[in-house]
């Protein structure tokens, strides 16, 4: 079946260091979304990417969608303690409204 793999599973960084999480799908995606979930909280939407090779930036966050639309990445520049949480990618296929979620990357930031 369709799978979305996310690496790494965990990442500890020192405040100020950069962080990247990668998402890979076994099938071509129509779109990919990224969410952040704080400990004890619920997923919060960050962004949706639709176009092949698309790059979007939100302040210190940079999101990329691969040319083949099978992989994506989220890069955070100069992490802050407020970036702590689990980052999930979720991919959609075709015209359906069902997202396939990765297992997430848990980010810990040491002050």
């Amino acid at each position: 079946g369709q799978q979305v793999m996310q690496i790494p599973q965990y990442q500890h960084v020192q405040e100020g260091e950069d962080f990247t999480t990668y998402c890979n799908s076994s099938t071509t995606l129509s779109n990919i979304q990224w969410y952040k979930q704080r400990p004890g909280g619920h997923p919060v939407f960050l962004i949706q990417l639709v176009k092949s090779g698309e790059v979007k930036k939100q302040k210190r966050l940079t999101f990329q969608f691969g040319e083949a639309k099978k992989n994506s990445s989220l890069h955070i520049t100069a992490t802050q303690t407020t970036d702590v949480g689990t980052y999930f990618c979720a991919g959609g296929t075709g015209n359906n409204r069902k997202l396939i979620w990765g297992l997430g990357t848990s980010l810990a930031v040491n002050p």
């Binding site: 996310q6 779109n31 979304q33 909280g41 997923p43 919060v44 959609g92 069902k98 997202l99 990765g102």
Partner: protein, 117 residues
């Protein structure tokens, strides 16, 4: 309300009992989704409603699980003969569907934590 509301926030029940979880989506959102999330896992799709009808229920694990949305707004997830393996956080999300690709931004509720003893 301003956001997606889920009740109860916590539910402890005994194995074999019946449970109902309620979701009140953002007003005007036609799409409603149920997910469940276990510790250390990503959300697992259960069912998706567009309006009153279940457009995709392929994620429901078995016939003990059922969900309704009779008036196209509030939805109830029903679990019969609960088992210990049903213990998880049940998340509801809603979105404002467009003609574009995908689900659009999903707005999640705080979740209902179900514990089956």
């Amino acid at each position: 309300g301003a956001g997606v509301s889920q009740t109860p926030s916590n539910k402890v029940t005994e194995k074999g009992k019946y449970v109902e979880l309620r979701c009140d989506p953002i007003s005007g959102h036609t799409a409603l989704y149920w997910y469940r999330q276990s510790l250390g896992q990503g959300p697992e799709f259960l069912i998706y409603f567009q309006g009153t009808g279940a457009a995709d229920d392929s994620g429901l694990p078995n016939d003990r699980f059922f969900a309704v949305r009779p008036e196209g707004s509030v939805s109830t997830l029903k679990i019969q003969r609960t088992e210990r393996g049903d213990s998880a956080v049940y998340l509801c999300a809603s979105s404002l569907l467009t003609d574009g690709v995908g689900t659009g931004e999903l707005f999640f509720g705080e979740g209902s934590r179900l514990t089956v003893l």
